[in-house]
Amino acid sequence: MRRLQLLVPALWLAGFVALPLLVVLLLSIAQPGPGVPPFLLPFAWDGGLVLRPNWEPFGLLVADDYYVSAFLQSLWVAGGTAGLCLLLGFPMALGIARAKPHWRAPLLMAVLLPFWTGFLPRVGAWIGLLRDEGWVNGVLRGLGWIDAPLPLLYSDLALFLGMVHAYLPFAVLPLYASLSRLDLTLEEAASDLGATPATVFRTITLPLAAPGALAAFLLVFIPAAGEYVIPELLGPPEALLVGRALWQEFFQNRDWPVAAALAVALLAMLILPIRLFQRLEARR
């Protein structure tokens, strides 16, 4: 029975994680070529199975500034988004955790409410708000504060607004989980020993919420690093993130091996923080 229970997740992981990953890995060392699909397999039957890896895609990623800059920009956007979500999510989570018990469920519900709308309408709403003839510019002009519309849409501001809006719940939930578990008598003990409320927060609340904060940061950082839709729809045209580079290689250049190499490199970049997190978790 126990074996059977393990079989289901094992099959799931094999079929939907390991197998696709293997396909992407093989693709990334394949030879690009004409035809459908546009690549040649990196192995052949020549009296036996012979592997003929093509390392050029990976060489290209390292050598070409275009891809290096895409990675750096993705890192910046994902890190900035995760940092902002942490900054906004911490007071929200603390507020919910310290609210009267009958308020907590409705407040958590409110955090999750955006998930009830589709992802694209939410991004679309930002376009409606921020474009030149949008609501924000309309109100500012109506008030007579500006003459010409502010270029809000297709800017870093719009990009981060959209990112933070989309990912904030992923930060609030782990923060809430760790803050609601925090034993309040610890804070009382600290204040009894002479700590002012600010010192209690700095020396007790914050360090004890750190694992939750790290989880929140990674839960936002990891998906945000590969985000494609939000930067594409809201961000500045010159923003070139890994997601867009991948899209272009795959659909415009039809260079599947380079696209796959980009995906593998992104995955490698994300495994690093995950490993770090596991280390810290194990140490506790």
């Binding site: 009382e188 003990a189 204040s191 009894d192 002479g194 700590a195």
Partner: protein, 349 residues
Amino acid sequence: MGLLEIAGLAKRFGAVPALVGLDLRVEAGEFLALLGGSGSGKSTLLRLIAGFEAPDAGSIRLGGQDLTAMPPHARPLNMMFQSYALFPHLSVGNNVGYGLRREGTPRAEREARVAEALAMVGMQELAGRMPHRLSGGQRQRVALARALVKRPKLLLLDEPLGALDANLRERTGFELRALQRRTGASFIMVTHDQQEALALADRVAVLEHGRLVQAGPPRAVYERPATRFVAGFLGAANVLEGAPDAAGGLDCPGLGSTLRAPASMPAGTTACALRPERIALGQPVGGANTASGVVEDLAFRGDDSLLLVRAAGGTLLRVSHAEEDGPPPAIGSTVTMGWEAAAVVPLAG
């Protein structure tokens, strides 16, 4: 003037009154036990003194200083928590040093005082340990050292022995009292365990429904309970109901006999307390302060046996039978009982 003076302290949570106009005085160097059942208001009183709750009315003064509106971090007293509340992310040494750090004590002095406090509870070897690697008894000691390191004049202890197992309790109790004498601080200990309160405290204050019903030295409170509640709570005395007779005694139909105290019963007395260990078996029946009954049940307790005796009038009496007086009477047998007038304590309410 006492070290701690509490006057007219009242607190209610919603519609539930937790404390009702409580007055209490604690002298310097005194060990006071606050005794009461759950919901008696004893923990609320402790939290009000520490400053974690604000009173609805009344005042708290410590050494002449009014604490009532002062935030907890500014109050010159410390508390040991029932759960110990050790900071899980700090080592034993940093837990104990936390309070000194907040005062800005220089590093060298801080380290010396941390070492001294840990030595006081016999934990100097474990300063580098993290709290989750300590046993329950060790945690209790660290919590105690942390609460004492700032040398408070008043230490509040919330069920300090509550989480320890029975073996450790007695020893730790003695150590607690030795520490109290050595530091000269006043201790206020909250407990629901009457044995603990009687054994450790200089004075016992019994709380019921947010009121102080009796306070005094342990022996006095034990021997002369003021009310039915105190008599029942401390040592589970027999409470015998009756009506005063013409001769100054209390006629108890449930007992089938009359109770007589050394002096006449105060006017309006309707009940008396009689401790199980004050009742002697095999006494000749007849007249006041004697009774007969049938043994209904019996429990062996080591140094004595507890007998449940149904008196002739129908009341169930708790009677203690010492082991040295030979084997206890069998269940179902008829016994005769007698006691001295001094054992009869008239109750006020």
